[in-house]
């Protein structure tokens, strides 16, 4: 955005953690045990203005929790989220309201986010009313223009209608219009096209990309569908059990993946593209383990075909394998160290002890 020097990221996320306590049974209480689900664990990344970062992963990987933390629908257990240089954890009152205007979120099911008793017109107006933008007449004008800009014309045909009178695709476009009415700097889009038919998805995705082009809004796009991520994103982060496994540009992560988990996701995703040579497929067996009380070691160690002894005892950290491309995998790290002997591998500091399961 214009006010930001290009070097300062819009969003700086450092060592973000979110733990959810698990209800204790009588035995746990007697033994003074506490359990916690590690929904988001040590997540660190930057986001520049106008970037589209896709968070991809399977259900339960923590991608939606991360999205909610970014717009402060949830508060982190520890770690820091800096939005335009300011930690959002301590915002309150008018500052929090100003942040809410600048950081918006849209969800998978638009029927759950609109008040069924409110017309579309009044739902849209409300966003502008809350933030007292312009005169009432100007607000109406703005709602009108936004609907028209989204291809929902004539706007009058939509303003007086109720959510249940619209299709899922139309209502999701209106949810996007509502989020963008405030011209936010950050939009978190949590599986926005997952429940829509494929022929309708393209319109929503293109609409999001157009809005990003017009307002320079940065988008965190949460999806389980890697092909959708490839279409909308500039960068991709792959999550597994709360942690980033790999992050980089779309070309790096999707076209030249390094992490075994990313490779497994990509080679197992069904598509209508040419079939992969069968030798390229990475098979990961079983189901993800429970995210409760994760011990030391790589989260994927129990399922990964390349597991080494070290993987079971030492948690791999995200390390750079090229400009901005970072991978959390001992195997990749060792392969990289061997491939470029001229550059000594960074000294192996012992992995700091993981926080125990105390909440």
């Amino acid at each position: 955005m214009s006010g930001l020097p290009p070097t300062e990221p819009l969003l700086q996320v450092t060592d973000l953690r979110c733990l959810f306590p698990v209800r204790r049974g009588l035995l746990d209480v007697l033994a003074r045990r506490r359990h916690a689900i590690h929904a988001v664990d040590a997540v660190t990344f930057d986001l520049q203005a106008g970037e589209v970062l896709a968070l991809v992963g399977e259900s339960g990987c923590g991608k939606s929790t991360t999205g909610r933390l970014l717009v402060r629908m949830l508060k982190p257990t520890s770690g820091e989220i800096r939005f335009r240089g300011r930690d959002i954890a301590n915002l309150a009152g008018s500052e929090l309201k100003a942040f809410r205007r600048e950081a918006q979120i849209i969800f998978q099911n638009p029927f759950e986010v609109f008040d069924p008793r409110q017309t579309i017109g009044s739902s849209l107006r409300q966003a502008l009313d809350i933030h007292a933008i312009g005169t009432p007449a100007q607000r109406d004008q703005r709602v009108h223009e936004a609907l028209e800009g989204a291809g929902l014309s004539p706007p009058a045909a939509f303003l007086a209608r109720y959510p249940h009178e619209l299709s899922g695709g139309q209502l999701q476009r209106i949810a996007t219009v509502r989020a963008m009415l405030l011209e936010p700097r950050l939009l978190v889009a949590d599986e926005p096209v997952s429940m829509l038919d494929v022929s309708v998805r393209a319109e929503i995705l293109n609409h999001l990309l157009d809005l990003r082009g017009r307002y320079g809004t940065a988008i965190v796009f949460i999806t389980h569908d890697i092909a959708v991520a490839r279409y909308v994103a500039t960068r991709v982060a792959v999550m597994y059990l709360g942690a980033f496994m790999e992050i980089g540009t779309v070309e790096e992560v999707i076209d030249r993946p390094r992490h075994p988990y990313t490779r497994a996701l990509l080679t197992n995703t069904l598509s209508i593209d040419e079939e992969l040579p069968s030798g390229e497929r990475i098979e990961i067996s079983g189901d993800p383990p429970s995210p409760v009380n994760l011990g030391a070691g790589c989260r994927l160690a129990g399922r990964c075909p390349f597991t080494m002894d070290r993987c079971r005892t030492e948690t791999p950290r995200l390390r750079s394998v090229g400009s901005g491309h970072r991978v959390a995998c001992h195997l990749v790290e060792e392969a990289n160290a061997q491939a470029s002997p001229a550059i000594p591998a960074p000294p192996q500091s012992a992995t700091p002890p993981r926080p125990s399961s105390r909440v």
């Binding site: 038919d197 393209a202 293109n206 389980h224 999707i254 497994a264 995703t269 598509s271 189901d287």
Partner: protein, 330 residues
């Protein structure tokens, strides 16, 4: 048709749902043929009628639905003509079985999986002894690669993938020759989904299954079908061998559908999607139901539903653009 001995032949099937004072014309004149050992993928978006076709074949339609015309000939017998009792005793589950998407709701949460499989088998094949039933169940579980401990588990203790394998085992209990998979892998994560579909490919060979795979996801269809049938708003638009369908789709809807799918590899241009929305099915357009959204629509499209034109071996299209091939009409 060119198929001499299909295992299943659906001819001009129409299904109507009563809704309030109106009627919803969910399926109109659908004709499908499936030879033994083949796998047909039936693809369509929501409201296309694909699941209604499956329910009609098994006669599992809800109370308010009625087959208004057509025949469903399975191995020489018209299932649409059978009494409920006969269908239940001789055909359903023994000859034709189905796996649905929401499988957790199909099992009782308070009984162990083993007991439920045994109960079902008792009901379907009363002649078997307890030892025979046990042998059959253990054999089927091994075939779908489930550990024996599943027998003693409750449904909620199983992961999504294991649950879906259990449902496949349940469908295969009486070793039917014909299996319908109705969005059977839709709710699963990508790695589990790919794993289960690979298992299905193996089971197809092992059990000599003929399968009808219903999905909204062309990726699933590509993974498991030999040929593809496309439905839109209750009408069957195109049937083609899989390779031909994905390389040279003929119907404007098929083309638009494929152009809407984001690609995982190679070049990807801007996705186009399909402008407009599904027509109201209680008052559908009189002709081609895709005409209101079709870029090639002409006046005659709205006059009457176009016939099926055969444009290549095993490739038929319901679109007047292919009227130049009158000599090849089926």
């Amino acid at each position: 048709m060119t198929t001499p001995n299909p295992l299943l032949h659906v001819q001009d099937l129409s299904v109507v749902y009563r809704a309030g004072e109106g009627a919803i014309h969910a399926v109109q004149d659908v004709t499908l043929s499936l030879e033994p050992g083949r796998s047909l993928g039936l693809v369509g978006e929501s409201g296309s009628g694909k699941s209604t076709v499956a329910a009609a074949i098994l006669r599992l339609l809800p109370e308010n639905a009625r087959i208004t015309s057509g025949s469903i000939v399975f191995d020489g017998t018209d299932l649409a003509e059978l009494s409920d009792r006969n269908l239940d005793r001789l055909w359903r589950w023994r000859q034709l079985a189905i796996v649905f998407q929401r499988s957790l709701s199909a099992l009782s949460p308070v009984h162990r999986v083993g007991h439920q499989l045994d109960d079902v088998l008792k009901l379907r094949e009363p002649g078997l002894t307890e030892a025979q039933r046990q042998e059959r169940i253990v054999g089927i579980l091994r075939a779908v690669r489930l550990p024996d401990r599943v027998l003693r588990a409750y449904p909620f203790e199983l992961s999504g993938g294991m649950m879906q394998r259990t449902m496949i085992a349940l469908a295969l209990l009486c070793t039917p020759p014909f299996l319908i998979l109705d969005e059977a892998t839709t709710a699963l994560d990508v790695i589990t989904q790919a794993e289960i579909l690979r298992e299905m490919e193996r089971l197809r060979a092992e059990f000599e299954l003929t399968t009808l795979v219903i999905s909204h996801d062309v990726g699933v269809i590509n993974a498991i079908a030999d040929s593809v049938a496309v439905m839109y708003a209750g009408q069957l638009m195109e049937v083609a061998p899989k390779e031909r369908f994905f390389s040279a789709p003929a119907h404007p809807y098929s083309k638009a559908l494929i152009a809407s799918v984001p690609r995982l590899r190679g070049q990807s241009g801007r996705l186009t999607g399909i402008p407009g929305t599904l027509p109201e099915l209680h008052n559908p357009p009189p002709g081609c139901r895709f005409a209101p959204r079709c870029p090639h629509a002409m006046p005659r499209c709205s006059a009457a539903p176009p016939p099926l034109y055969q444009i290549a071996p095993r490739h038929t299209v319901r679109c007047v653009l292919y009227d130049q091939h009158p000599e090849q009409r089926p």
